[in-house]
């Protein structure tokens, strides 16, 4: 019998439902769909929900809420369907975010392309046609971990950290992409640069992306990118959106 889905308490703060112990598309799908189902169920004991790559977290005050009753209801909800093949929640957004690949703005494209077994042009072509999903948000506010890229992008992190890559950097490792929220050191390789702000604390919608959203990173020229930089005041970085059915 598979040990998953596995239910565990997290401190006195809540309950974690894990769908796997390694990253996979079905397990990520299960985590996103199960969270959506919990949000729909709207149990009064659950004050907040979130997902990591392959698990769903329910913030529950275990000091006041009887755990056994919660576990029974969780098991009942888990049994209602196969979460690994569940439909993703409706109303997610598809984003097209203009990206400059390579150049001095993103100096590790060539190195990453070589590790992925491609020449730089083929790498740009593959990356700008890829459509990835926000697998989870974390590390910094609004910062998406996106995937999965084709298998040839299963490239390791660097041994040494890059001292700092700027906000809006598109970086790659282990078949995933990240857009950086803030300038930060990283072991991932900096292959593209966007003008997209993932976190806009004083805006009406401070967090641009939600887990489950999908993204494309079409390649644009340096002059088109500079034009976005000089005209965009919203932080959207020239992104276009459509609602996914």
């Amino acid at each position: 019998m598979t040990p998953f889905p596995k239910i565990q308490t997290v401190g006195l703060n809540g309950i974690l439902i894990s769908f796997a112990d390694t990253m996979s598309e079905p397990a990520n799908r299960a985590a996103l769909s199960f969270r959506a189902a919990i949000d729909v169920a709207d149990w009064p004991e659950v004050s907040e929900t979130s997902t990591s790559l392959v698990s769903t977290f329910l913030q529950v005050d275990l000091v006041t809420q009887p755990l056994d009753a919660m576990l029974t209801r969780l098991h009942d909800l888990l049994d209602t369907q196969d979460w690994y093949t569940a439909s993703l929640p409706a109303g997610r957004t598809l984003w097209h975010i203009p990206t400059v690949y390579g150049t001095d703005l993103a100096p590790q494209l060539e190195e990453a392309a070589e590790l992925a077994g491609l020449d730089p042009d083929a790498a740009i072509s593959q990356l700008s046609q890829a459509r990835v999903r926000v697998l989870t948000i974390g590390f910094a506010p609004g910062q998406p971990y996106m995937g999965e890229l084709p298998k040839n992008w299963d490239i390791p992190r660097q041994q040494a950290l890059t001292k700092s890559v700027p906000a809006g950097a598109l970086i790659v490792a282990i078949r995933q992409l990240i857009i950086f929220t803030n300038a930060s050191p990283t072991g991932w390789r900096h292959i593209g640069q966007t003008a997209f702000k993932t976190f806009r604390p004083r805006s009406d919608s401070p967090f641009s992306l939600s887990p489950g959203d999908e993204l494309c990173f079409p390649s644009v020229s340096r002059s088109a990118f500079d034009n976005i930089l000089s005209t965009d005041t919203s932080g959207a970085g020239g992104a276009e959106t459509e609602v996914l059915p």
């Binding site: 997290v10 907040e48 989870t136």
Partner: protein, 342 residues
């Protein structure tokens, strides 16, 4: 006109803090808020106001402050030497700060985080539902000399009250419940963990507190293959070099290092307040035991206002002590000759 508090001189690490922002975990933002929540409740009890109001958190040392009107203040958390216009004032107590008077708060004598509470609270504009600075997320900033902060309307009355101090500033035993990855550590490794005396490392901040110890580091089985997973405040992660790191309110929302356990909320202020070098040991308790401890703790917090007593002036703080007639007329050995001075 809005009453304001001006920071004449800011210590190196002053921030505005409240109980933090809940509700943004899925978007990658942890709750943050005061490092020592008990101190927030104490300040609220001393001033007879809501614990949701924002205060100034002072790490290691305070600063000098002055207000545009008479205001009520309370000082809680790590004890710091404090005076108003040169006259020493008692910590863990409420005081009147007259308009234009200078409040000076020095370095911490015990503990790490001191709090300056104001009657009516610091009334800066909330961002995402709270006033708390969350520096690692880029929300708010350390307060600077010359800054002027708005103060909310003070509906309370009375100063010169105090609360007894507890022992959370001295390190000691910190209770832990098992968490998601506790079973990744062998029983022997867990036993070694609870038998080890740790000292708080100087490398500590609102994101986390590193614990030093002599001897080998701690290791999980398959420690490097753990997927990034949700973090809750108090999680003890074991980093690559085997040192435990207690994650605090301003940590990241997720992390890939294995967690050996989670410090219960009751004991998290003890971790936060332990000054560098203070001895700390960890003790596992069951979930049921933790719930019992936490239930009692919440009762104690609710009952804080019942613990308040009128401040009896310490003769050492009375400037013209020598001019007082201290002995004459004393008829009882148990009477307190200073009671009349309240």
């Amino acid at each position: 006109m809005t009453t304001t508090l001006t920071i004449l001189q800011a210590g190196p690490a002053l921030t505005i803090q409240d109980r933090g922002r809940a509700g943004w975990l899925a978007q990658g933002l942890t709750k943050g808020g005061a490092a020592d929540l008990v101190a927030l409740y104490e300040g609220a009890a001393l001033l007879g106001q809501s614990a949701d109001l924002a205060a100034i958190e002072m790490t290691g040392t305070g600063g000098t402050f002055t207000a545009s009107e008479d205001i009520r203040i309370a000082l809680t958390g790590a004890s710091m030497a404090a005076n108003i216009d040169g006259e020493a004032i008692v910590w863990n107590a409420s005081h009147l700060l007259p308009a234009g008077a200078k409040l000076t708060i020095g370095g911490a004598v015990s503990g790490t985080y001191g709090y300056l509470h104001i009657g009516g609270g610091i009334a800066t504009e909330p961002v995402l539902g709270a006033r708390a600075s969350h520096l690692s997320a880029g929300l708010g900033a350390a307060l600077k000399s010359g800054e002027r902060l708005p103060i909310g309307p003070d509906k309370g009355r009375g100063t010169g009250m105090q609360l007894p101090r507890d022992t959370r500033f001295d390190g000691g035993t910190v209770r832990v419940v098992a968490s998601m990855q506790t079973d990744r550590f062998t029983p022997e490794e867990r036993e070694r963990f609870t038998n080890t005396q740790f000292a708080r490392d100087p490398r500590a901040n609102r994101m986390g507190v590193r614990m030093d110890h002599n001897g080998a580091g701690f290791h999980a089985e398959g420690g490097l293959t753990i997927l990034s997973e949700v973090i809750v405040p108090g999680d003890i992660q074991i980093t690559g070099d085997g040192a435990p790191f207690v994650l605090m309110g301003e940590s990241q929302t997720t992390g890939g290092y294995p967690r050996i356990g989670t410090v219960i909320p009751r004991d998290l202020p003890r971790v936060a307040q332990a000054p560098a070098g203070t001895k700390i040991t960890f003790e596992f308790v069951t979930l049921d035991q933790a719930i019992t401890i936490e239930t009692q703790h919440r009762r104690d917090i609710k009952a804080l206002s019942g613990q308040i007593t009128a401040l009896v002036r310490d003769p050492a703080t009375i400037k013209n002590l020598l001019s007082y007639q201290l002995v004459g007329g004393v008829t009882s050995a148990t009477d307190n000759p200073f009671e009349k001075d309240i």
